[in-house]
Amino acid sequence: MLTPGQYAQLWNGMLATVQILAGAFALGIFLSLVVGVGRLSDRRWVRGISFGFVEFARGISSIILLFIMVIAIPILLGDMIPWLRGRSVAVLGALALGVNMGGYGAEIIRGSILAIPKGQTEASIALNLNPTQRLRYVVLPQALRIILPPMGNLTIEILKGTALVSVVGGFDLMRATQNQIASMLARGAIGVTVLFVNVLVIYFILAQGVNALFRLAERALDRRFQQRPASKGVRIDATVGAETDG
């Protein structure tokens, strides 16, 4: 067990970790969608760029990408993109992790779109939906059910990746842990061991939390597929002309 003060510090670190994860997740989902759909574009150059992005983001090690993003990129591109200068390590780190997530996520999205039966696209062509509408109203809502489980696993991988931000000087749960090591060494190595067990458990709980959220989303989606709640549907009156409620 640790002292309340130590737990308070770990709590702050955990909040920082969750923030980095949230930023990386938002960017990651956005990139996944754009690049995943881009991989299936009719235009060759869009496919090419998307493929290049995916290969880069999946091929590079996240810790190396993090070093490049936090240390090299602001120097290299700071003149072109002034925004990069003076960004906090947390923001740049979330950027790197988001790119990383986008590469893997794009392949998840692409695979799920390909898994939707061809008849669905054909029916939406027969209804004269345009390509964007086909994707938005017909393909992606169905693909979502296939996307969720692997996306949940990917999010946990990114959660694990957030610990790397501490190595490039950002503040997170791992940094909050390291800040305490020096003072703890006085009490012997056992204390440090206990500290690390606590930190591992916190990461484990966070991962289970992410897992639970995705499970909930899956369940909600399954229910929607099977039956719609009456409030969202059409009220069926004796007369044919129906109206919506709510």
């Binding site: 190396i64 120097i75 694990k160 790397l164």
Partner: protein, 298 residues
Amino acid sequence: MADDTPHTQQAVDEPSQEGGDAPAQPAFDLEVEQSHKWYRRPDVLVPVTLVVLGLSLLAIVPAPSGRFSSQFSPGREVSFGWDYFFHLLPQMLRGLYTTARATVLGFLIAATLGMVMAMLRRSQNRVVSLPTAFLIEFIRSTPILVQMFFAQVLVRSVDWLSLNPIVILFLVLGIHYATYASEAYRAGINSVPKGQWEAAVALNLDPVTKWTRIIIPQAIPNVLPTLGNYLVAAFKDAPIGDAVLSTAGVLFFANTIRAEDFRPVEPYLLIGVGFLLVSLPAAWLVRRLEAHIAYERG
């Protein structure tokens, strides 16, 4: 009756025949031929053998030792110079070699330990299977970076135990990826259709024959590409050891050079490029293997 039933050009799903059926009986005077196994095909066998040989070599031969030092005075006026970039190349390759070697050694542990974990997880005895399942989940869902710190602290706190940082690195890599490997094995074993298990019982095969002749040969094609993917993933995590344990891999190289010359752009971009030059072909090879085996499985 079916031949006259008109159909559209659209393929109507027909129940696909699952593999495993014996081919038609040959006439009596025909010799029984050895069935054609996917791993005997030269287009799979040759690259797999070459890769295994290469990896073994990597595991046996250590990198030349020595400090990283640029011995180059890059100017301060530009933020990127090609001459400096290429000057650093040989040392980067040395670091990359160390990283790759730690990966391979770590993955040897992962592949073996993973099998043990998978078996314990499958145990009928819940006292064995449940804690194993929990341990796998716990290790899988916590950062390898924290695990490395933890291992380092643990090793330091035990007086009689002194381990080389590189040994800690491949132990942690090995244990971390063993949990992934165990899930791959499990999925592979579960992918063998239930009918195959039942057939093995019906033929009254003993457990050893059942596993070595029926289950494992059918599970491997599913497991191999997944393991390959995890090998590449482990390679991407190996540089974390440089940051935590100061092992002399690519990232350690870049950090050292940066501290020496205060020119961070080139070393980090260089290791990024070096990394991609290894991981992209490796991932491509895994995909090729996957495609070949998938084709074979029909």
